[in-house]
């Protein structure tokens, strides 16, 4: 059964007020970043408003993953500012970064699971590390069913297929009811049908009020999403962030 077709509201995933200074949940202001002497971005700006839906496209190596990592303070900007929920990311100490991560659900292309823990334990990990492990018991089963992994709860990550792993990663990203969901090539390793399922889940989360930022080179998925969501499409090219859309 397709989870996207059987969506139902999950208790803690409902709409809630986003607490942040200003109007943006994440804001990149005149951002510059590079590896060594090679500048990847220069004076790049982006604002993610609460409840917005963004696609980020670009060729391989354009810097999509780097841009996402800057958005959740996994990297620090060389120049310019990154504001996460109104706070200057450069001024956040390590604990503050950890706290901000609890408001940002991240879905990686390679999922990044702890292979010695079951899928259920991996999905519950954000609650566990924030000292809310007991809350997991109530929501976990519902969430597993929501992403269609109820039967795989006790399996280890290596035992799952690529699509199942991606759905589990999405479940882990949303279990703490984050304000923002950042997904890096969430459909990179799955077939068309599975990519549509995952997209459906992300659109549903957006309708619940979550801000969504998806990095992808899957233009077909972006075209398919256009019918269901009002998304802003951005393209990274030559270190600049361009508005795209009409040609897609």
């Amino acid at each position: 059964m397709c989870p996207a077709q059987t969506l139902k509201p999950v208790a803690d995933l409902g709409r809630r007020a986003v607490k942040c200074r200003g109007t943006a949940v994440i804001e990149l202001d005149n951002l510059s970043y590079g590896y060594g002497d090679n500048a990847l971005f220069s004076q790049l700006s982006l604002t993610l408003a609460p409840g917005s839906f963004h696609f980020l496209t670009g060729a391989s190596g354009a810097g999509k993953t780097t841009l996402l990592r800057l958005c959740y303070a996994d990297l620090r900007a060389v120049k310019g500012k990154v504001r996460i929920f109104g706070e200057d990311a450069a001024a956040l100490d390590r604990d503050a970064v950890a706290m901000s991560r609890r408001r940002i659900g991240v879905v990686h292309q390679d999922c990044q699971f702890l292979d010695h823990l079951s899928i259920a334990e991996n999905i519950a990990l954000p609650l566990t590390v924030s000292g809310r492990g007991r809350e997991a018991a109530g929501n976990l089963e519902e969430l597993l069913n929501w992403v269609g992994l109820g039967a795989q709860a006790n399996q280890l990550p290596p035992e799952l297929s690529g699509g199942e792993r991606q759905r589990a990663a999405l479940a882990r990203a949303v279990i703490v009811s984050p304000d923002v969901i950042i997904a890096d090539e969430p459909t990179g390793n799955v077939d068309w049908e599975m990519s549509q399922r995952l997209l459906g889940l992300l659109i549903e989360l957006n309708k619940m009020g979550k801000t969504i930022l998806i990095a992808t080179h899957d233009l077909a998925m972006i075209r398919a999403a256009k019918a269901d969501v009002s998304a802003r499409i951005l393209r990274l090219k030559d270190g600049q962030l361009l508005q795209a859309g009409a040609e897609l």
């Binding site: 996994d74 950890a98 699971f113 010695h116 990990l125 590390v129």
Partner: protein, 297 residues
């Protein structure tokens, strides 16, 4: 205090977040056990040396020997004068003139059992035992020189000083060994913790990504290494105590090695070793973990 409390209470879910590493765990327990065993033995030797040296020094300090000239013509008169002086000296608890048999026994190791003591001009020895406050040796010497000419007072200073010095050295060596053992435990645990942290780079990365604070990640490692070191030290300390208990025992006055062990309140020390080992492991792992986490991200 709070980190210690959290360590004792523990968090099974946090513990499970970091996979077990069998070899590192076994090595940590083994090293802690060996070090605790050595610490117990070093403690036993150090404390025993301290105790026995103190006993010997106290006995020597409270006794003195008076030697009267070996002149048969004046021997009896000098003995009476000396006893009179000694019995009227403040701080003297008891005095006793050694019998000929006792003096023969003292000379027997050098001259053999058939020594014709009657044919030799032997000085008369008087054993003096001071009371708890001790006696005024200089004052006594002055009185003896005036009233018992030729009498020589030996207050055992020449014996006592090197004995106390040797005992002090042994005690210092013992405590140095214990400090070195503690430092070795800290170094070994730090290395083991760093190896475990390096082996779990990906685990740490995932935990950081889902919002784990450094303290949460560090706690999983700290708790594990602290408990391993504590458990290893308990095993080592128990074996050490058993070895000390089965060593030949004596009253400590004849031979130092016959009296190695713990007495009374000294038994607290071997009981403290597992706690000390666990504390060393706690701080070593915590320091290594936070440093590593800062470097990694």
């Amino acid at each position: 205090m709070r980190p210690l409390l959290e360590l004792i209470i523990g968090d099974p879910q946090a513990d499970r977040a970091v996979p077990q590493t069998g070899t590192t765990a076994r090595l940590t327990v083994f090293v802690a056990a060996v070090m605790a065993f050595l610490a117990v033995i070093a403690l036993a030797i150090s404390l025993t040396t301290n105790r026995v040296a103190g006993l010997w020094a106290d006995e020597l300090a409270r006794s003195a020997t008076l030697r009267l000239p070996a002149d048969p013509a004046t021997a009896d008169a000098l003995l009476l004068s000396a006893l009179d002086v000694l019995q009227t000296t403040p701080g003297v608890n008891s005095v006793r003139a050694l019998s000929q048999d006792e003096q023969r026994a003292l000379l027997e190791p050098w001259f053999g059992p058939d020594l014709p003591l009657d044919a030799l001009p032997m000085p008369q020895l008087i054993e003096i035992v001071a009371d708890r406050d001790g006696l005024d040796v200089d004052g006594l010497r002055a009185r003896l020189s005036a009233q018992v000419p030729g009498a020589i007072l030996d207050d055992h200073t020449a014996w006592r000083a090197p004995l106390l010095k040797a005992a002090s050295r042994v005690r210092l060596i013992g405590w140095s060994v214990i400090v070195l053992i503690g430092a070795t435990v800290a170094a070994m645990i730090t290395l083991a913790a760093q190896a475990a942290l390096a082996a779990n780079v990906q685990v740490i990365r995932v935990l950081r990504l889902v919002g784990a604070k450094d303290a949460y990640i560090a706690r999983a490692f700290v708790r594990r290494f602290t408990l391993r070191a504590g458990a290893g030290a308990v095993i080592g300390a128990i074996i050490g105590v058993i070895v000390v208990l089965v060593m030949p025992q004596g009253d400590g006055t004849d031979s130092l090695l016959l009296g190695v062990g713990f007495e009374g309140a000294e038994w607290v020390w071997p009981l403290l070793i597992p706690f000390l080992a666990a504390s060393v492991a706690f701080f070593a792992t915590r320091t290594a973990a936070f440093r590593r986490l800062r470097e990694q991200t």
